[in-house]
Symmetry: C2
Subunit: 139 residues, 2 copies
């Protein structure tokens, strides 16, 4: 269907070194401090969270649109928790969604949101973690 490309480079050791992640027209520098402390720069978990919230929002729009409930907007945030379990591990991701969908009731919306959580391709990719969803109709 589609192939996407990205690259990264790390120079030097874990703690003194530095890296950059690149895709499209974006270059994101990262370091040990930007990943594990409060240092300036980005980290892989931020990209993973953005990909997940983006894919979930698009997929939810797709299944709502297919059933003639085109959403005005779907806003989703992702909190990506990096912990430890026999080495570093993404222990969970919290998705928090607020959507404006004319004509849809809350119970039906909750079912659509649950389906998007289970079926969107980034959720399917992230089989190695627990995904927690909170979804609310607004507007």
């Amino acid at each position: 269907m589609a192939t996407s490309k990205a690259t990264a480079q790390w120079n030097g050791t874990l703690k003194e070194g530095n890296g950059v992640m690149k895709y499209s027209n974006f270059e994101g520098p990262f370091t040990y401090a930007s990943r594990f402390e409060e240092g300036k720069g980005t980290n892989p978990e931020e990209l993973v969270g953005a990909a997940h919230s983006g894919c979930f929002s698009m997929y939810l729009s797709a299944i709502l649109s297919a059933d003639n409930f085109p959403p005005t907007s779907v806003k989703t945030s992702a909190l990506v928790h990096l912990g430890e379990d026999d080495g570093p591990k993404i222990t969970s991701i919290d998705l928090n969604c607020e959507a404006e969908v004319p004509g849809l009731d809350a119970d039906k919306f909750a079912q659509y949101a649950q389906t998007a959580k289970e079926k969107c391709p980034i959720s399917r990719l992230f089989a190695g973690t627990e995904i927690n969803l909170s979804a609310k109709l607004i507007g």
Copy 2:
């Protein structure tokens, strides 16, 4: 250990709508065309590929450094294949790594690279796909 945050918004239907993914100081617009066709913008798979290549490169540096083989550089590209299997699915990710590591032989390097492929936290997160690794010492 660390929590990272990102957000996204999708407006309108799947095909006519548009979205944006945000984290750190980055805003990446995306559309149906930028995900499934050749349209301008980014998509979740590019972010996922950047996160994977970045995490793999950093983790490989970490385990090499811990054994007193600090790498000069670790460069990794990711090809993320979005296909179909009972709905849209990331069917595989190809990681291609070239690293400059003074004093290390090719066989030992291959073992470190294999370990990074299995143990880096983004690989562990991506349990829902097949990860193919090609890794080569250079320099």
